[in-house]
Symmetry: C2
Subunit: 198 residues, 2 copies
């Protein structure tokens, strides 16, 4: 049986960017099947008493995060531009990802969203930005975005966020193995893949 | 010139345990000279509005941390016992470390403190625990502990904690290179050593 790993990510999360760009080849090399699971951190942060990203609430931590992310991207040869807006409204992107992941273009969409957000510093909270990303991967932007705003997709994303909270997820990216082992952070990706193979 | 790396640690910090146990051989293999710099996280956390460890303030994060630390210790073949008291009062241990690091037994003392705290689950906030650690490394416990409570040592530890804050340090372990590059977390130790060598 092929081992699987659930990849829980949030488009507003900065460290989810390198994780999203790294996970496919690393998983493939280890013959691990990855399920991409978008969710929303906002409700989980609110339950912890935060109404903003901890990187904005704690400035020393925020300054460090941007420098650390810049170093990580440089080491991976990933483009990096710190977005003027942070965190960004990732609701529409997450809903579109739910549509795409039920078809065959979801992972390409996710990587393209992260690239425009943290590789080019653009604002994915703007619908025209998401439309441009969809067009760049050959999807019909208007039809997809209409589907993304359907009740079925809204409900599915809410349920997925609730599942993340039930699993003990408190940040992104997170990785959960079939036996329920939780790993948090881009820097735990390799350990999570190894655990999935045990 | 031998590259140097400052290792900023706090005896109450759980992830400082594997970092303290790993750093000497990793640095030696890369010919990097490490300066051990104990400091207190309490004043820095207070300035962020925290009166407790974030691992206690945010239970999901705390549950994850203990499981993650257990996995990390298992992978390194380090003993691990979750202490009943967390975080522990690390003031006396930090002052004794200041004494020892100005002599030649400081690093051995630090490793021994971490081992009893997170490898055996004992409470380093109890003076008799620190006395036992000192005896285990062949030091005269009473004389050292008296010196550790001198004004000179108290002032030096306060100054070192203030220096940590000025450097932008917000958690432990942290590593700072000679050119001021900050790395946070046991999982950044290798990256910090590589940066120090550049």
């Amino acid at each position: 049986m092929t081992p699987t790993l659930d990849f829980w990510f949030e488009f507003a999360s900065s460290y989810s960017y390198p994780a999203a760009m790294r996970i496919a080849p690393l998983a493939s090399a280890r013959s691990v099947n990855v399920r991409w699971r978008p969710f929303l951190l906002g409700p989980i942060f609110k339950a912890q008493g935060w109404d903003n990203s901890p990187f904005n609430l704690y400035p020393a931590k925020g300054r460090y995060m941007w420098r650390d992310l810049q170093r990580i991207c440089a080491a991976l040869s990933l483009p990096f531009v710190q977005p003027a807006v942070f965190p960004q409204n990732a609701l529409l992107a997450a809903r579109v990802a739910m549509v795409g992941l039920a078809q065959d273009w979801g992972e390409d969409f996710c990587r393209a969203v992260y690239t425009v957000e943290f590789g080019q510093g653009r604002n994915i909270g703007e619908p025209q930005c998401i439309a441009a990303v969809l067009q760049s991967i050959g999807q019909a932007a208007e039809a997809v975005m209409q589907q993304a705003q359907s009740d079925a997709i809204k409900t599915a994303l809410r349920a997925q966020t609730e599942e993340a909270r039930r699993l003990g997820i408190f940040g992104a990216p997170s990785f959960v193995t079939a036996d329920g082992e939780l790993f948090w952070g881009n820097d735990r990706l390799e350990a999570a893949l190894e655990w999935a193979k045990r």
